[in-house]
């Protein structure tokens, strides 16, 4: 049986490996994820399920008699540097995900599920022994804070947070729960009813699913309505969809002891360059699979082989010749060699692409489908002509703006093409709910997913180290739909607050306290807050990685 530390490492990797910096991380551990992780271990699971094995391993680690002891999982792993408590926290989320479709969220209900997983008998108290609140603090809250801190240091955005009232601490696992087991079953039923066999990407599938809103549980409806979780939810739905397609479109999960398979498909986005003559070219930009290590792969495009080489976390370098109008318009499927782990690279057929500037190097002039546009960021939309009415409607309502007047658009493939671009698009407002569009997926893709966002502007960034050079730090700009925000800067090494100020939103500010070191910038506005870590290095700290021969 694999050790606790093996599961802990596998979980951290599953949720963070090949994930671009700046992504919100949800520790949304569910039965399907455990099957997938389990299938990556060399050991086979006979007779018992991976879920049972995982629960047993965690139980053995933290249970002393009928009392939970978190001490063995409260430090960092000596070998990996990962927080040791993640498998235990994952188990807490597993309990949340096993709650039934519309089960009321309460401490009693939650811990009842939690006890079932650990085979702990009820003792008349809501919290199990060892997890009692002491001095106003739940013991597991420290593990959640450590996980959040670790994610921030790696450049990710943590999402686990406490709630209020009696649900204060159980909100940590609840906030990580995306699809409950009942939701994935419901999704499979809908995929079967609708016979959705086109390999849509995450965004398109999300819109299709959201259109079936009335068929879902209250929990799932809440998830759909919560723009904060849009990207994570779209990924989770898509994983269920891929699994449904791979398992013969069955309406039920593959069984408790079955293997949940990794997707045999890679998906591609679009990478856009423009030369001095104004020639625009688009390339296939393959996306890595989250949490999975793949060996050397080659993609066959028009009878030519292209190696997949890593560009950055989450992405391979662009490949192939520049894409034709037909390829963008109709999408494409490209064979991968060897095909033992993944078989195909898919360029989805879409009506539009949103291309944002390079997050590592915004001055490069390159735009690609790296992420949804962030607040205040200017981006490019490449679209079929039929979408222009919807874009104009959004512009008329002051929700977005682009360069030129409402009629301004540029042909993407020269004359006689029905694909266009609009430049320097920016989201202006958060008030999207009452606007209706022909292409709902356009609204889903553009509507802001946050109301507060910290950006670092200018300065000299060392991309692959996600750091800035001292004497050339960036300015800090907090985008928000409110005129002022509270900004606090904490030196991570000393844990001291070095700067606190009320600043105007949406305009850049120089913070001279950002000298050499690592800092957490915290912005708060109307009860919401967001953080970003910034590292500032001396010239003699930056280095290069040698090219491989």
């Amino acid at each position: 049986m694999n050790k606790y530390s093996d599961w802990n490492t596998a979980l951290v990797r599953y949720f963070t490996q090949n994930v671009p910096y700046g992504t919100k991380i949800y520790l949304s551990l569910d039965d399907d994820t455990l099957k997938k992780i389990g299938s990556s271990f060399t050991q086979e699971c006979d007779h018992v399920s991976w879920i049972a094995i995982f629960c047993e391993v965690v139980k053995n680690k933290v249970l002393r008699g009928d009392k939970i002891n978190l001490e063995p999982v409260s430090e960092l792993d000596d070998d990996t540097g990962y927080p040791m408590g993640i498998a235990f926290l994952g188990l807490m989320v597993l309990a949340a995900n096993q709650m039934s479709e519309d089960e009321v969220l309460s401490q009693t209900n939650y811990f009842s599920r939690f006890r079932q997983i650990l085979n702990l008998s009820e003792d008349g108290k809501p919290r199990p022994r060892g997890l009692e609140i002491s001095k106003g603090q739940a013991p597991e809250a420290e593990l959640w804070k450590r996980w959040n801190q670790w994610l921030l240091k790696q450049g990710f955005i943590p999402t686990a947070h406490e709630g209020s009232g009696p649900n204060k601490y159980i909100n940590y696992p609840i906030s990580q729960s995306l699809l409950r087991n009942a939701d994935t079953d419901r999704l499979r039923q809908i995929f079967t009813e609708k016979q959705w066999r086109t390999r849509w990407d995450e965004q398109i599938l999300f819109t299709k699913v959201a259109n079936e809103y009335s068929k879902f549980s209250q929990h799932f409806k809440k998830l759909i309505d919560d723009r904060n979780r849009y990207e994570a939810l779209a990924t989770a739905i898509h994983e269920t969809y891929e699994d449904w397609l791979e398992n013969g479109s069955s309406t039920t999960s593959t069984g408790r002891s079955g293997h949940r398979q990794w997707s045999p498909q890679l998906y591609a986005g679009i990478y856009r360059t423009e030369d001095f003559l104004g020639n625009i070219e688009y390339y296939l930009y393959p996306k890595q699979q989250r949490g999975r290590s793949l060996g050397s792969l080659r993609v066959e495009i028009n009878e030519k082989q292209w190696d997949l080489r890593e560009d950055r976390a989450g992405w391979y370098l662009p490949i192939g010749q520049s894409l034709s109008r037909q390829e963008i318009s109709q999408g494409g499927t490209y064979l991968i060699n060897p095909n033992t782990q993944v078989r195909e690279l898919i360029l989805p057929m879409r009506d539009f692409w949103i291309l944002v500037p390079d997050p590592d190097n915004s001055e490069s002039g390159v735009y690609a489908s790296w992420s949804s546009p962030k607040l205040g960021e200017q981006f490019i939309i490449v679209f079929r002509e039929s979408l222009f009415n919807d874009l104009q409607r959004l512009r008329d309502e002051n929700l977005i703006q682009w360069e030129g007047d409402r009629e301004t658009k540029y042909s993407a493939f020269g004359n006689n093409s029905d694909w266009y671009e609009v430049y320097q698009c920016q989201i202006l407002s958060q008030a999207w709910d009452g606007v209706f569009l022909q292409f709902q997926e356009l609204k889903d893709a553009l509507q802001p997913t946050t109301s507060l966002s910290i950006s670092f502007l200018g300065g000299l960034k060392v991309p692959k180290m996600n750091a800035w050079i001292s004497n050339h730090p960036p300015q800090v700009i907090v985008f928000a739909f409110h005129p002022t925000i509270e900004v606090k800067v904490i030196d991570i090494t000393t844990d001291k607050t070095v700067y606190t100020q009320s600043l105007s939103s949406n305009s850049p500010h120089s913070i001279h306290e950002l000298t050499e070191g690592s800092f957490m910038v915290n912005a708060t506005c109307l009860g919401q807050s967001t953080q970003r870590i910034i590292k500032v290095l001396a010239w003699n700290e930056i280095d290069f990685t040698s090219f491989s021969a």
Binding site: E363, G434, V435, I542
Partner: protein, 445 residues
């Protein structure tokens, strides 16, 4: 048949609702889903709700139809279907039709139920015209600098290479921006000098750069000690140099006028063989190459390697190089070096290309290289002088060699040329190199 958007008018129907019966956010949800499922988006673009709704609130459904008051049949059915739930209490039972100006004081500019009246301002930026790093304006001016100024320039260039090394590769825009941040003026010349010194290479059109891997080229051996001297070029960092120092000593010189980063030579004790150095540096995580001076390409081969420009449009004013200046001209397919200027009130230089009549093609390349081709094409005498004793090659500034050929000269010593009046002076050039180079360039000295 549906009308185009321009033919339709937007107007509003108003209704009242009680919060305890249907909260504003649920009202939006219900109407939004019905509009989507009924495919009514073309008639019902949006919904506006009273600002700060309390126990009872007003909301307005926007309708786009042929004129105010005209309710498309699809919308009529939609309102009837949801009458009980949403539309039971019209604002005006007889004439329920409003314009945006009539409802604006009530709904404000936002359509949501929350108080989001502070949109993020749009940052209007002029669309940047992409300029090629290959377009240069010749500049023979030099200014005298103090030693301190030279040292400062040199350090900035050193930092630039550290940054480029960490990045590995990138675009011209990112290079230019970094020079600007570091306070290094004239980024096109900086890029050119880095290429002359073999620290980096660029794509044919100059739009992308890639820093070369760290490399050593042998420049001499001490006949007494057997210690070998190598010129270092390519990627570097402070840490890398520190590691290199553990194997040999580093000799550092400033470039003339601090116009590029310091020239570094590695003096390697005789007992350290190439393989040892390679292995030791690998243990520190660095791959280092030993290289040899490249063989010199013929001018013809170099010209054939230049990027050919296809699909060039002629909505520009053209100027042609006459041996000294660029003169207005009409293109008549004559071989020559041409500039393309925009036709507007403040003409801008957009491109510089060489036209080769023999092949009927436009060529893209480094500015001095194309000018050199033009000089040869008009049979201008290239006045190169070689001083055998001092081992100096002197080239008129106005007849500077193509970048590739100048790089052969610069890399002989790892030093940029010095200026003397109207001449570029390359030091310690062997007679063999000077002869071979001039032969390849079809010139004599």
């Amino acid at each position: 048949m549906t009308q185009s958007r321009q033919e339709r008018t937007r107007w509003y129907m108003g209704f009242k609702q009680k919060t305890n019966k249907l909260k504003p956010e649920h009202l939006i949800e219900v109407i939004s889903k019905s509009v989507q499922s009924g495919n009514l988006v073309q008639y019902l673009p949006l919904l506006r709700i009273e600002k700060n709704p309390k126990g009872e609130y007003y909301f307005f459904v926007a309708i786009e139809s042929i004129n105010i008051g005209n309710i498309p049949s699809e919308v009529d059915s939609f309102i009837k279907d949801l009458k009980e739930k949403c539309f039971n209490f019209p604002v005006d039972k007889r004439r329920n039709q409003f314009t945006i100006d009539q409802i604006k004081p009530m709904v404000g500019v936002a359509h949501d139920v929350q108080d989001y009246t502070n949109p993020i301002p749009y940052r209007s930026q002029p669309k940047t015209i992409r300029e090629s790093p290959l377009i240069l304006v010749p500049n023979s001016e030099t200014q005298s600098l103090s030693d301190e100024q030279i040292r400062q320039f040199s350090t900035k260039h050193e930092h630039l290479l550290y940054w480029l090394s960490a990045l590995g590769s990138g675009t011209w825009e990112s290079f230019k921006k970094t020079c600007e941040i570091l306070g290094l003026a004239e980024p096109k010349r900086i890029l050119r000098r880095l290429k002359l010194l073999n620290h980096l290479s660029t794509s044919g059109n100059g739009s992308k750069w890639q820093v070369n891997p760290p490399s050593l080229i042998h420049t001499g051996t001490n006949s007494e000690t057997g210690d070998r001297t190598f010129l270092l070029y390519g990627q570097r960092s402070h840490k890398f140099l520190q590691k290199l120092k553990t194997l040999g000593s580093l000799k550092v010189n400033q470039q003339p006028r601090g116009e590029a980063l310091q020239r570094i030579e590695l003096i390697l004790p005789s007992q350290i063989r190439d393989e040892i150095l390679i292995q030791r540096m690998q243990t520190y995580g660095y791959s280092i190459n030993f290289t040899h001076p490249p063989s010199i390409l013929s001018l013809n081969d170099w010209q054939n390697s230049l990027t050919r420009i296809e699909g060039l449009t002629f909505d520009f004013d053209l100027k042609r190089f006459d041996g000294t200046n660029f003169i207005d001209c009409t293109f008549q397919e004559e071989t020559g070096f041409y500039q393309f200027w925009t036709r507007d009130s403040s003409p801008q230089l957009r491109y510089s290309f060489f036209y080769d009549q023999k092949t009927g093609s436009w060529l893209q390349g480094d500015w001095y290289g194309l000018r050199f081709l033009a000089i040869l094409s008009i049979r201008q005498n290239v006045e190169v002088h070689y001083n055998t004793e001092a081992k100096k090659l002197e080239v008129p500034i106005t007849q500077r060699f193509p970048e590739l050929y100048e790089s052969y000269l610069v890399m002989a010593l790892g030093l940029l040329p010095t200026y003397d009046s109207h001449l570029l002076i390359y030091e310690r050039i062997s007679l063999q190199l000077a002869t071979e180079l001039t032969i390849k360039l079809n010139i004599t000295f």
